[in-house]
């Protein structure tokens, strides 16, 4: 019995020595793995894991990922960040999909002075005025300008109409930025109609829009409502082009709108598994993904997840330390980092500059048309 006790003690001691000898860098990940945003959150986690598998070390130490599910819920999101920082003592955080989730988690990270890199949270407020929040995606003003630039330059649209969900921050913001750029580029907004989240009937607004004969209708909606709007517009005989933002990038858009989604154009991040002229980093990511997950197509969320991990390990390497303050400083200086989303440089608001990807629905499939530089 005594012998056993001694053995157990020795083993414990050996184990403790071994674990301290191999120093680890803990990076927290909080993403919506269940709930309504799970589709994007799961893909982003796969992207993070792939980047980790490819490059599991930074400054010679092992990087350990601590993964938390924020359940697509703001309260859970703040709790997840709190737990990562207080219990798991992470030095940096990756996440999350969804601006409102990122803002809830961001408050906690900011208070604890732990740097965080957002995957796909496009609202300007996520990083605005924050010292510790960064992101891998562009922001809505940029995206709205990208859509307007494409409408004016490529589609030669002169008159645009808008249909905006006034109870949704994303929609109001994106709509405003589209309007601003479109008029700046010489276009005219012929009408701006509104609705509220949860509305299902848009016939009155669409009848009004059709009577104004615009060249393009911009709907900064989520896919569920967007699909219905497209359908009702075509049923009422609308012949103009319909455009939307990245929230329309979902397979359900086509299944809800059916034939009415033909020719629909929306903005997205500059990555697609079928994009022409893929940059070497994107090629590398796509090949690695196909080897790791043969049954899943890599999408833009996966690329964003991958990019956040690259940004953090790159910052740790440049800082030469895993101290949160040093990582924060290095992240803010991120410049010309090659990622699947192109050469990434963060501006003073911690937002990357990257071109806006344009996707069109053709024969029920998403086709990556190319990129535009917003004006």
């Amino acid at each position: 019995m005594k012998f056993l006790k001694i053995m157990a003690g020795v083993m414990l001691a050996v184990f403790m020595v071994a674990s301290t000898a191999q120093a680890q860098i803990k990076v927290g990940v909080y993403l919506p793995l269940t709930g309504q945003n799970a589709f994007g959150g799961q893909l982003e986690l796969d992207g993070v894991n792939l980047a980790h598998k490819e490059n599991p070390k930074a400054i010679g130490q092992d990087v350990e990922l601590v993964i938390m599910d924020n359940k697509s819920d703001k309260v859970e999101s703040a709790n997840a960040v709190k737990r990562l920082i207080e219990r798991d003592k992470v030095v940096a955080i990756i996440g999350t999909y969804g601006s409102s989730l990122a803002m809830a988690g961001g408050e906690v990270a900011e208070a604890s002075k732990i740097p965080a890199v957002g995957t796909s949270c496009t609202n300007p407020l996520v990083t605005q005025g924050k010292t510790y929040y960064f992101r891998a995606c562009f922001i809505d003003p940029y995206q709205g300008a990208g859509a307007a630039t494409y409408a004016v330059k490529n589609l030669e649209a002169k008159k645009a109409a808008l249909l905006i969900d006034v109870s949704n921050d994303y929609a109001v913001g994106l709509g405003t930025f589209f309007k601003r750029s479109f008029t700046k580029l010489g276009g005219e907004i012929v009408t701006e109609m509104k609705y509220n989240s949860g509305d299902q009937d848009f016939t009155a607004q669409l009848t009004e829009i059709i009577s104004k004969k615009p060249d393009v209708l911009f709907i900064p909606a989520y896919f569920a409502e967007g699909g219905i709007i497209m359908k009702q517009a075509r049923e009422l005989g609308a012949e103009f082009r319909i455009m939307g933002g990245d929230a329309m990038d979902n397979p359900e858009t086509v299944s809800i709108a059916g034939k009415a989604s033909e020719g629909f154009i929306h903005t997205s991040f500059p990555y697609d598994s079928n994009m022409p002229n893929m940059n070497p980093e994107a090629r590398k990511f796509t090949d690695a993904w196909k080897a790791a997950y043969p049954n899943k197509e890599p999408n833009v969320n996966a690329a964003l997840g991958y990019t956040t991990y690259v940004m953090i390990t790159n910052a740790i390497e440049r800082a030469g330390s895993a101290d949160p303050a040093e990582i924060t400083k290095a992240l803010a200086e991120t410049k010309d980092l090659s990622t699947p989303l192109g050469m990434l440089t963060l501006d003073s608001d911690h937002n990357p500059q990257m071109p806006v990807g344009i996707i069109e629905i053709k024969d029920g499939k998403r086709v990556y048309l190319g990129e535009v530089q917003p004006e």
């Binding site: 709930g35 949860g198 016939t203 009155a204 009848t207 219905i228 049923e235 005989g237």
Partner: protein, 297 residues
């Protein structure tokens, strides 16, 4: 506004309004007989839409068969809900049953979230329902005619059941005096179960039609239509079937015409529609058709 635009909007209004009417008659029937507002009505509406979705996509039934199965399934659900959640509270104050109904409403929504997931699904639409008919510049969906016809048929069937059959006689009797009806040897519980079965069948029929017009189904799809149809039923005079139809059509027309005549107010559509309805209630507190008590069924 041009003449064509006005006619187009009139048909838009007819489509929305008759859908509200279809939901409202279910509310009003249960209220007319039991003096009880079934807040779970909008959620049975949602379940009906899911039943037909799975009937067509999972069980590969032809559309009309799936519709009948969905209506049957929903009325079974209505009877089950009555047995579990309302019948034990029959002797309790009416407010308890109301709270129980709200509980059932949340239960069905969240059960839907777990079982069907929150992802919106595309409803299956038979093609002949969705190809618009063109009259000059006016475009009308076949559904704009089908929904009012379905509503009319269901209203007539309902009136026939309530006024011409023996269970209908028992229903009317229960609405007057439940205790005396029991003393007359009527199986009150069975008649009430039948009432919920019928009400749920109406909800499912409305859910199916709604999903035809707005082909996207999710567990919370019944909340707002249910709420609006309830208001339509109250404006029409709750308890009156004709009033529910009138209230539904009125609400649909107001919603469309507010936007049609005042495009800049489109973001406040609901606010303006409901202010108008409040004004109606201020002048006719029992609703448009709610005066003559003997009209209630």
């Amino acid at each position: 506004m041009t003449w064509e635009l006005f006619v187009q909007n009139l048909f838009n209004a007819l489509t929305v309004g008759s859908l509200y009417a279809l939901i409202a008659i279910g509310y009003t029937m249960v209220y007319g007989i039991l003096r009880f507002i079934n807040f779970a009505h909008g959620d049975v509406f949602m379940v009906g839409a899911y039943f037909i979705f799975f009937g067509v996509t999972a069980a590969h039934l032809p559309w009309p068969v799936a519709a009948l199965v969905a209506i049957g399934g929903a009325s079974g659900l209505g009877i089950l809900v009555d047995r579990i959640a309302y019948r034990p509270l029959r002797e309790a104050p009416r407010i308890s049953a109301l709270i129980s109904a709200i509980g059932i409403s949340f239960l069905l929504e969240n059960l839907g979230l777990v079982v069907f997931t929150g992802l919106p699904r595309p409803a299956v639409q038979p093609q002949w329902m969705v190809d618009p008919i063109t009259l000059g510049s006016i475009r009308i969906l076949p559904l704009s005619f089908i929904v009012p016809v379905v509503t009319a048929i269901l209203v007539l069937a309902l009136l026939w059941i309530v006024y011409k059959t023996r269970p209908g006689l028992a229903m009317r009797s229960i609405s007057k005096d439940i205790e005396t009806t029991r003393l007359m040897g009527v199986s009150v519980d069975r008649i009430i179960a039948l009432t919920f079965g019928l009400g749920s069948a109406l909800a499912a029929a409305a859910g199916i039609m709604w999903a035809m017009r707005y082909p996207q189904i999710h567990p919370f799809m019944g909340v707002i239509p249910g709420f609006k149809a309830f208001i339509a039923a109250v404006v029409g005079g709750i308890g009156s079937i004709q009033g529910a139809v009138l209230g539904g059509l009125l609400l649909g027309t107001v919603e469309i015409m507010v936007v049609a005549f005042y495009p800049t107010l489109s973001g406040y559509r609901d606010a303006f529609a409901f202010v108008l309805l409040i004004v109606i209630l201020l002048f006719k507190p029992t609703g448009l058709m709610g005066e003559k008590l003997e009209d209630k069924i």
